[in-house]
């Protein structure tokens, strides 16, 4: 019995071992996984540029790719020989510096000196990864500069790039909170009742004092700063609806009370299922209304549809949303009511965009796009085969725009003339672009490219403001030609 007991225990141990071996073989191919969305990137701010580095999860610890981390900072030449990883990094105006590690080992060499990682170096598919916590020290040694890593919020600052802000509360009627920055900023702005949230993805904004600043003011209740997932947020809370405007070329953001019954909000399109514009009230039962002039702005893409990757950290969807808000503001300055099809990062299908636009019966539809190829601004009208369609009659879905092509062309020409007067490179073209074909109103699409080859300039407040003002002026110039529509 003792012998048989030992045998049975031995048999079970061997069986369990084989099962474990089998399980290990099956799972061997996936030791490294991408982290969950929002946690999967490090934002790096350097004096030259801001960029994102995707992170990998290795046994619960975030790792950053060395090439992705260093490439935007200089030239990189990486080689793998078996388990040995050798990288030459040459900073601008510098000489090549060597980094050596071995896959599965925590010891290596940086600039010829021994270097110990807090965890093993990872080699995967010919790429080398180091623990996130060591990225700051590694870059500091390679660039001989100060660095600061905000580990929990996934933000790395190289050099003294941190951008602090000032807060000034003006107790006017209504109160105004002035957020001042040393250089222009371009955050995405989200509004909710009694709250404005400014999200900074590319700017190295850091807290400039207490993270929560309360105010004893009838309108503005306080400001709080937070950073997480590679971005920073300033959250302004109030006792009534708030709005944010840019001033001083993007160096100042003014938060104040939103006008109570905003005409734009009343004239916005039927509400999409996603929270497109939180300022827009729910639709009210329709009553006969006077004809009005409404421009509907469609910032393309959104949500998981990022559009073009203008840079690794700047998707088209963000560029066009910022431009759309500026355009809405500039049109309002010219007395033209404008609504946005989306005012946050939500996905809307092409058919939904056309359906909501047609239901809102705007006087003009403007789709906004951005690209990193070419330069300047392209103004498009729909490319449609010749069709005899009347705006008053039944409009086939696929060629609904055909009835409005003449008016669309007039708007495109007017916008191009305004771009020309501001010396912005431009061209007007026909384009097979959806959902423009399905829009039953005059419609144009505007695609902005970098002004002169510098891709980062596409998001600069100054450039975007010039483009937005050109479009607004172009629309204002042909307003008399465009019919007001009864909602």
């Amino acid at each position: 019995m003792p012998l048989s007991g030992r045998r049975s225990r031995l048999a079970m141990a061997i069986t369990a071992g084989l099962a474990l071996l089998f399980a290990a073989l099956l799972t061997r191919q996936a030791p490294v996984q991408a982290q969950s969305p929002g946690q999967n990137q490090l934002t790096v701010y350097s004096p030259r540029t801001s960029y994102s580095v995707p992170l990998l999860d290795v046994n619960g610890q975030p790792y950053a790719g060395l090439v992705e981390l260093l490439e935007p900072l200089g030239s990189v030449d990486a080689r793998v020989d078996g388990k040995k990883y050798k990288l030459h990094f040459t900073p601008p105006d510098g000489y090549p510096l060597e980094v050596q590690f071995t896959g599965g080992k925590d010891k290596g060499k940086v600039r010829g000196n021994g270097y110990k990682l807090p965890a093993n170096f990872v080699l995967q598919n010919g790429r080398g990864y180091v623990p996130l916590s060591v990225t700051s020290d590694l870059i500091s040694k390679l660039l001989a500069t100060v660095t600061e890593l905000h580990l929990a919020s996934r933000r790395l600052f190289i050099g003294n790039v941190q951008l602090r802000y000032t807060l000034e509360l003006h107790k006017d009627n209504p109160s105004r909170l002035l957020l001042g920055f040393l250089s222009p900023v371009n955050p995405s702005i989200a509004t909710e009742p009694g709250r404005v949230r400014l999200t900074f993805r590319r700017e190295p904004i850091v807290s400039s004092g207490p993270e929560n600043v309360p105010y004893s003011d009838p309108l503005i209740s306080g400001v709080s700063f937070s950073e997480h997932d590679g971005l920073a947020e300033l959250d302004v809370t109030g006792t009534a609806p708030l709005m944010a405007n840019f001033a001083d070329g993007g160096k100042t953001i003014i938060v104040t009370g939103a006008p109570a019954p905003a005409p734009v909000a009343q004239e916005a399109p039927p509400p999409p299922p996603a929270p497109a514009n939180p300022q827009n009230p729910s639709p009210q039962p329709r009553q006969p209304a006077a004809p009005r002039f409404l421009v509907l702005i469609d910032p393309a893409h959104g949500g998981s549809d990022i559009g073009a990757a203008i840079t690794s950290s700047l998707p088209e969807k963000d560029v066009v949303l910022a431009l759309a808000r500026r355009l809405q503001h500039d049109l309002a300055n010219r007395g033209i009511a404008a609504g946005l099809l989306r005012n946050s990062d939500v996905a809307i299908t092409l058919d939904q965009r056309a359906t909501w636009t047609n239901a809102a019966r705007p006087a003009l539809y403007i789709a906004l796009h951005a690209a990193n190829t070419g330069q300047g601004v392209h103004v498009f009208t729909a490319m449609l085969p010749a069709a005899n369609v009347s705006p008053q009659g039944f409009l086939p879905w696929d060629i609904a725009q055909a009835a409005f092509l003449d008016l669309s062309g007039s708007v495109a020409g007017s916008v191009a003339a305004e771009l020309e007067s501001r010396k912005l490179p431009n061209a007007t073209l026909l384009a097979p672009l959806r959902p423009m074909n399905n829009i039953a109103a005059p419609a144009i699409a505007v695609e902005i490219a970098p002004p002169a080859g510098d891709v980062d300039e596409i998001a600069s407040p100054a450039y975007q403001e010039q483009v937005a003002q050109s479009i607004a002026a172009g629309v204002a110039a042909v307003r008399a030609k465009l019919p007001e529509v009864r909602p």
Partner: protein, 196 residues
């Protein structure tokens, strides 16, 4: 008792070993299939005899947003759809060069060209063509226009062109250019004039 345990052990061990070998076999098969698919994708057009023939290509340039007419010499097969495919592959070949002013996805290819009647061509491209195509209204329009006008320039009977991706209709090429429609060569002709 001992015998039962030993039998159970033997059965479990055999199952574990069998599954291990099966998993390794599946892994090798997937790798082999992927390699085969990649090789098929890179396969060249059927070899044809005969002298190279001049064909007209409309080549896009992203930097200035233009389409330029150029001629290259290509050995063309006698069959019409194969000839159209060879012309488009010559066009893609220009875009796939490292010096291209309008780069497209590295593995982009034309799988086939079909004719509907005498005047309508259906161009079936591979997934890499759309998946890796640079996104942008103008960039995508340049690609579509160059395909349509190049086909029309070399096969004047073709007046309408439809582009498929991997045999399927897709809503847009890379987020912008409409791929649900048939493109009329006469309509594109106006765009080409604007782009020249």
């Amino acid at each position: 008792m001992t015998r039962r345990v030993l039998v159970m052990f033997a059965v479990l061990a055999l199952i574990a070993l069998g599954l291990t070998f099966y998993a390794l076999h599946l892994k090798r098969k997937v790798a082999r299939d992927e390699q085969l698919a990649a090789e098929q994708q890179r396969a060249l057009a059927p070899l044809t005899n005969g002298p190279p023939t001049p064909v007209t290509l409309y080549i896009a340039s992203d930097s200035d947003g233009t389409l330029r007419r150029t001629q290259v010499k290509v050995t063309l097969p006698p069959e019409r759809t194969e000839r159209d495919r060879a012309v488009l592959r010559a066009l893609f070949g220009q875009y796939l060069q490292s010096s291209s002013l309008h780069p497209i996805g590295a593995d982009a290819d034309v799988r086939d060209v079909y004719l509907l009647g005498d005047d309508t061509a259906v161009v079936d491209t591979n997934a890499a063509f759309a998946d890796a195509h640079p996104s942008g209204v103008l960039a995508e329009e340049l690609t579509v226009a160059s395909i349509v006008v190049t086909l029309n320039a070399n096969d004047s009977k073709i007046e309408r062109v439809k582009i498929l991706i991997n045999g399927q209709e897709r809503e847009t090429l890379a987020g912008h250019a409409d791929l649900r429609r048939f493109y009329e060569a006469s309509n594109i002709g106006q765009v080409v004039k604007d782009l020249q």
